[in-house]
């Protein structure tokens, strides 16, 4: 370890490499375009690192398998696309409620339903946050290059393990079909975090008793001598079902607040020429690369355009967005759906007009197509 190497990888391969670097030991999945080649890549490679790759009978089994593996102490992950993600909905809530560290790679393709399996899209901005019923905390990270697929998958594991939450890495069809140079940094050049272990003896340990400062309970795995209850019903600190107001309120608030309290390790964004931007674009994923070209070319013509790119989508860097929009006369949200991210941007930037440029296209929009679609505001 320690030596960084160079890869020429698509985002699937880069995410797989990131997972290996983060210490992935168990992967379960069900084949789906465009996530299957991540699966194949890991099937070849992970066993060499002492890990296990399982093809399950469907996506529901895959996510439940990784939840079980996580409780057995393994860093665990699955990868899928929209249809599979929908099937995983119930168990993602189960992972949130039982505070099970898991990572889910979700490669967006054109929906709804089976949609167009071989085309790109960004239809899961809202679904990735609210995929399961009830109110809970979840983290969603969105790479826009193979390098970020590598880096953010490592970050996803760090957050999942340290905060005991499900973390989604939301990529798209274009990213996973484009190869790019990736610097594969290894520890200590890159930070790899482990879950917190109990400091109390087994007799005193309570599996859902949080540390007061970060609101995260230390996690005892199966087989380590602790009494561990994995309870998806409303439970108290011991893990006992407790259908009473104060316990329920305390639990749900903590499931959400633990992400807020630890925002510093989650929230991330990038800006491109935003300092004096009069027109601020907001975009994420592969389409943000096209918007970068729009901004770059406008700047050559003296037009003051800028780009704010959320890297953590949930939660978003709200302060960063407001700062980027400070000098803007208008904010233009470019997304490959019919208006989802725009609702968050409207909520965060309240004092400027926020416009939506919805691009319901099946391939990566060109910079020209974006300019054309946004023309009425430019």
């Amino acid at each position: 370890m320690g030596e960084a190497s160079l890869g020429f990888l698509n985002a699937n391969q880069a995410a797989a490499e990131g997972a290996i670097t983060a210490g992935l030991k168990f992967f379960a999945g069900y084949p789906i375009t465009p996530a299957s080649d991540l699966f194949e890549y890991l099937a070849k490679k992970l066993p060499k690192y002492g890990g296990v790759v399982v093809q399950s009978e469907d996506e529901i089994a895959a996510i439940n398998a990784i939840i079980g593996a996580s409780w057995a102490g393994a860093k665990a992950m699955t990868a899928t696309s929209g249809p599979g993600f929908s099937l995983m909905a119930e168990s993602i809530g189960f992972a949130a409620m039982t505070e099970t560290p898991i990572v889910i790679i979700q490669n967006m393709r054109a929906g709804p339903s089976t949609g167009v399996a071989t085309a790109t899209g960004q239809g899961e901005v809202m679904q990735s946050r609210w995929v399961s019923h009830g109110h809970y905390g979840i983290v969603v990270l969105t790479p826009f290059s193979s390098q970020e697929a590598y880096d953010l998958t490592i970050k996803a594991f760090n957050i999942a393990e340290r905060l005991r939450v499900p973390v989604v890495v939301l990529m798209d069809y274009v990213l996973v079909h484009t190869r790019e140079r990736v610097v594969l940094k290894k520890p200590p050049e890159v930070e790899v975090l482990e879950r917190k272990k109990p400091t109390k003896p087994p007799g005193e340990y309570r599996p859902y008793e949080p540390d007061p400062e970060d609101l995260v309970p230390p996690m005892a795995n199966y087989g380590e001598g602790y009494a561990v209850l994995v309870e998806s019903m409303a439970h108290d600190e011991r893990g006992y079902y407790a259908p009473v107001d104060d316990v329920y309120e305390r639990l749900v608030k903590r499931l959400v607040d633990k992400i807020e309290v630890n925002r510093h390790m989650v929230v991330e964004s990038a800006t491109y020429h935003t300092d004096d931007a009069e027109v601020l674009f907001v975009a994420f994923g592969s389409v943000a690369r096209s918007v970068m070209s729009v901004v770059k070319e406008a700047r050559m013509e003296g037009k003051k355009y800028g780009l704010f790119r959320p890297i953590s989508l949930w939660p978003m860097d709200e302060k960063g967005l407001r700062k980027a929009a400070e000098n803007a006369e208008q904010v233009i949200v470019v997304e490959m759906n019919y208006g989802q991210l725009v609702r968050e941007v409207e909520r965060i930037v309240r004092d400027k007009p926020v416009h939506l440029v919805p691009l319901l296209k099946l391939d990566l929009p060109t910079p020209e197509e974006i300019v054309e679609a946004a023309r009425r505001w430019l």
């Binding site: 160079l6 020429f8 190869r179 790019e180 690369r289 096209s290 070209s293 060109t366 910079p367």
Partner: protein, 183 residues
């Protein structure tokens, strides 16, 4: 060099995708940031096959991921030349396999280089299957983006063992023929 766009196109079976992959690997070893995408039709032989590379000095400048107007275009077959000419700059460097493409098919304004990659591969390396590597050898000489040795290292590390020797020879042939063409 700010952003260099390269397009390699031909028909399925000509090794276009492998050529694009090996070219990308070689350019990365040389220190460039490379973005590569590919498109192909469902047929494994005879359909369209296209590899696009964006070559940059720094990752920070990696914007739009596809070719808009290629600065360098390689056409290994006439049908794809006709189909994708509009994605090539008017003053582009255009390298074509003259085994399959006639000089009159080339646009005025292009800096065109015609080399019979497929014929050379067949006659001098013994199989048309390495025409793509003959082309990469020539491209090293013509563009100066990477050296023949860097290409040979990529071949050694990434080509199936039984094919290494043949491909190394093909790369050398391509480099030499480009030299003879005055490149």
């Amino acid at each position: 060099m700010e952003r260099l766009e390269i397009m390699i196109a031909g028909r399925g079976g000509q090794g276009i995708l492998l050529a694009g992959y090996l070219l990308g690997l070689t350019l990365i070893k040389h220190g460039y940031y490379v973005v590569q995408s590919e498109s192909y039709s469902a047929e494994t032989r005879g359909g369209d096959s296209r590899s696009e590379l964006i070559v940059l000095k720094e990752q920070g400048e990696a914007d739009y991921m596809r070719v808009r107007r290629a600065d360098i275009a390689v056409f290994m077959y006439g049908e794809q030349l006709r189909k994708y000419s509009d994605k090539v700059r008017n003053d582009a460097l255009v390298i074509v396999d003259s085994t399959f493409i006639k000089p009159e098919e080339l646009r005025e304004g292009w800096r065109s280089i015609l080399i019979p990659f497929s014929r050379i591969a067949e006659e001098q390396a013994g199989t048309i299957r390495v025409a793509n590597i003959v082309m990469l050898g020539a491209l090293a000489r013509i563009t100066g983006l990477y050296t023949l040795d860097e290409l040979k290292e990529t071949i050694q590390r990434n080509v199936k063992p039984g094919w290494i020797e043949l491909n190394l020879r093909a790369a050398e042939l391509g480099y030499k023929v480009a030299e003879e063409h005055g490149a």
